[in-house]
């Protein structure tokens, strides 16, 4: 398994389950949850490095979930993945420091590439902040 942990959040169960299994088969440590609330609960219990987040979900939507994640776990990188591309949500998502904004359907290899890039950034930021902590 990979050295990093990925959390997939999507209300489409068929998509979610299949994606998680495929990632695991490619040795990516992935877990799936079906709502924003469940994602926050999961993150509160255990750490994750990258979150792949659907924007349009019943209940807490992707943007609100992103805002909450950035509040409680600022070092977690978030990739927004949605079927709907509206400029408002895109702009807002990037404003809230989402790592990227992808439109479904996306090829698995492409998604994994983006996840790796996100983790790379997460590592750099983490090292800088731990260096700062050490220096402090």
């Amino acid at each position: 398994m990979s050295a990093f942990k990925v959390l997939i959040v999507d209300d489409e169960v068929d998509f979610l389950e299949s994606l998680v299994r495929r990632l695991k088969r490619r040795m990516v440590d992935a877990t799936g949850v079906t709502s924003g609330e469940a994602a926050l609960k999961y993150l509160a219990a255990q750490p994750a490095d990258v979150v792949v987040l659907d924007v349009k979900m019943p209940g807490m939507n992707g943007i609100d979930t992103l805002r909450e994640i950035k509040k409680s776990h600022p070092q977690v990188e978030v990739i927004l993945l949605t079927g709907h591309a509206s400029v408002e949500s895109g702009v807002e998502g990037l404003t809230l420091e989402a790592f990227d904004y992808l439109i479904k359907p996306v090829k698995l290899d492409e998604l994994i590439e983006r996840i790796m890039e996100a983790f790379d950034r997460r590592k750099v930021v983490g090292e800088i902040s731990s260096a700062e902590r050490d220096a402090g």
Partner: protein, 552 residues
């Protein structure tokens, strides 16, 4: 030009021409007739005075001659005057002061010529039957009409009877016609003026310049001439219109006639009148030209405005259609992308599991592998479609940028400034200089502002006003557009934002302007509302969220 414009053009032209030309021509024509009347009256008065003067002069001439002959007749005896040498001396003395007697004759009571001095051979004639002789014997003094007599030359005589001492005889003198005619002719004026004397039978007593020789008929209807002095417009026997002055001479048998062609006499006076008429004509032509030009200009302006308005409406309607189409496309793309993603993952997972070596062990395993690839290809194809749809929808999304609402209002007003000026609508921009910049779609916001301001200009109408005010209201920027128009009644107010609702004439508005503006403002996160009360003019409020633009 199509029908309504042609009709409007005709109505405006007719109205303007009526308003301008009727009073002008009324004034001009009454002046014209007054000139005519005054000029004619002036001429008539002048003729009357001339007739009076001339008649007096002629009467004086005849009275002087008659008096001279009376003195002679009453102071001399028949025997003295029967001597032709004496008579001849008397004639030359009488003519010394002014030549006026042609001859003198003494006729006894029996009508025989007792003595005669003069150029004719009349000594042997008897005048017992001559009318002038009989009249003189009867009345004592008689001035004859012109007659031929024995000498067969037209002439007239003054005859005076001597009586009282038992002897009765008549002293007769012939007046020189040249002298007398000249006296009458002094009443002629100008090239066409005429003056002559007519007797009671209507025969000329002196020659008329236009009417003929002495003793011809003068063509004057004597019965219609009142006593004393009178002036009358008539047609002479040549068919010309003349003004005639009539004066009866003292002894009652002769009428002095002065004819004047008014055209000649009134020439200078009528020049003023004609100049007035020409000025009137020119002024009318000028007004007609000006009216035609102004109406054409106005109609052209109106057409241009209407065309602009129609284009704006069409553009609004078009962009509204595109926006709703974009929204639908985005919705459809989303609904398809989610199942598409699921299909892609599910098929991909089977591909992951079913590696080719494994598939080879299955019956028709190559078909399964092949179909999985095809499924992925079809997903890819559908993805191409939905992503194009999303791209299209994104183009229709508001394009947010840093917007200065005040500057946008000033720019929008500059688009309609000419129209406002043209319709005499006073527009006042009352903009809060402290208004912050906001994040909004400049172009779409401008469409709304233009639409609302245009409506306000229409509602205000000729001579009205429109006020545009901007300020911060809580978390919003508010732009208020108020007008002096009739306002919007309560039942209309509920429907004005409905699509296709319009109060304008068919063909003047699509009824989409307010409905589209309303939906644009909602999309921009703001609102468009009507605040007015009926009878007080409309107030439209445009609200925008006060969202600061991102720092660049």
């Amino acid at each position: 030009m199509n029908r309504p414009y042609a009709n409007l053009s005709r109505r405006m032209t007719a109205m303007a021409l009526l308003v301008a030309l009727i009073p002008l021509n009324g004034l001009g024509l009454s002046l014209y007739y007054y000139f005519n009347y005054a000029n004619n009256e002036t001429l008539k008065e002048e003729l009357r005075i001339r007739a009076l003067n001339r008649a007096s002069a002629i009467e004086l001439f005849l009275a002087e001659r008659t008096a001279l002959l009376e003195v002679l007749a009453h102071s001399a005896r028949l025997t003295q005057l029967s001597n032709e040498a004496t008579l001849s001396r008397l004639l030359s003395v009488m003519n010394r002061r002014s030549w006026s007697f042609v001859d003198l004759g003494i006729i006894d009571a029996g009508g025989d010529h007792r003595a005669y001095v003069g150029p004719y051979l009349l000594k042997q004639q008897n005048y017992r039957e001559a009318p002038w002789f009989q009249q003189a014997m009867l009345k004592g003094v008689y001035i004859s009409d012109v007659f031929l007599g024995y000498r067969q030359v037209p002439h007239f005589v003054i005859a005076v009877k001597h009586g009282g001492d038992g002897q009765e005889w008549v002293l007769r003198a012939t007046i020189d016609s040249d002298v007398f005619n000249r006296l009458v002719r002094t009443a002629q004026v100008g090239k066409t003026g005429d003056a002559y004397i007519v007797d009671k039978q209507g025969r000329l007593q002196t020659p008329s310049r236009l009417g003929g020789k002495v003793m011809d008929r003068a063509g004057v209807d004597l019965r219609a001439v009142p006593p004393g002095i009178s002036v009358k417009e008539r047609v002479n026997r040549h068919g010309d219109e003349v003004i005639s002055a009539y004066a009866w001479l003292d002894h009652g048998d002769w009428l002095l006639v002065i004819d004047q062609n008014p055209k000649e006499m009134l020439g200078p006076l009528n020049l003023a009148r004609n100049v007035e008429l020409a000025v009137l004509g020119l002024a009318s032509l000028f007004i007609i030209a000006a009216v035609l030009m102004l109406v054409r200009l106005f109609i052209r302006r109106l057409q241009a405005n209407d065309a602009e308005r129609a284009a704006l409406d069409a553009q609004l309607a078009h962009s509204a259609r595109l926006v709703s189409l974009g929204r639908m496309a985005a919705g459809v793309a989303h609904e398809i992308n989610n199942p598409l993603a699921a299909v892609s993952e599910l098929a991909g997972e089977v591909q992951d599991i079913l590696v080719p070596e494994q598939a080879a062990t299955l019956e028709e395993g190559d078909v399964i592998i092949d179909n999985l690839v095809r499924i992925q290809n079809q997903v890819e194809r559908a993805r191409g479609v939905t992503h194009r749809m999303l791209k299209f929808a994104r183009r229709m999304e508001p394009h947010l940028e840093s917007t200065d609402v005040n500057e946008l209002l000033r720019e929008t007003y500059s688009f309609v400034e000419k129209e406002a000026l043209f319709n005499n609508v006073q527009v006042k921009l009352d903009l809060d200089p402290g208004l912050p910049l906001v994040q909004s779609d400049r172009a779409q916001l401008q469409q709304v502002l233009l639409n609302i301001i245009n409506n306000a200009l229409d509602a205000a109408g000729q001579g009205g006003w429109v006020r545009v005010n901007s300020k911060v209201e809580g978390s919003n920027l508010a732009v208020r557009v108020s007008d002096s128009g009739p306002g919007i009644s309560r039942d209309l107010a509920e429907r004005i934002f409905d699509p296709f609702f319009t109060t304008k004439e068919p063909g003047q508005g699509t009824g989409l302007g307010l409905s589209i503006s309303h939906s644009i403002m909602q999309r921009l996160g703001g609102s468009l509302e009507l605040e007015s009360q009926a009878g007080m003019g409309a107030v439209f409020v445009i609200r925008l969220p006060n969202v600061a633009p991102e720092a660049p």
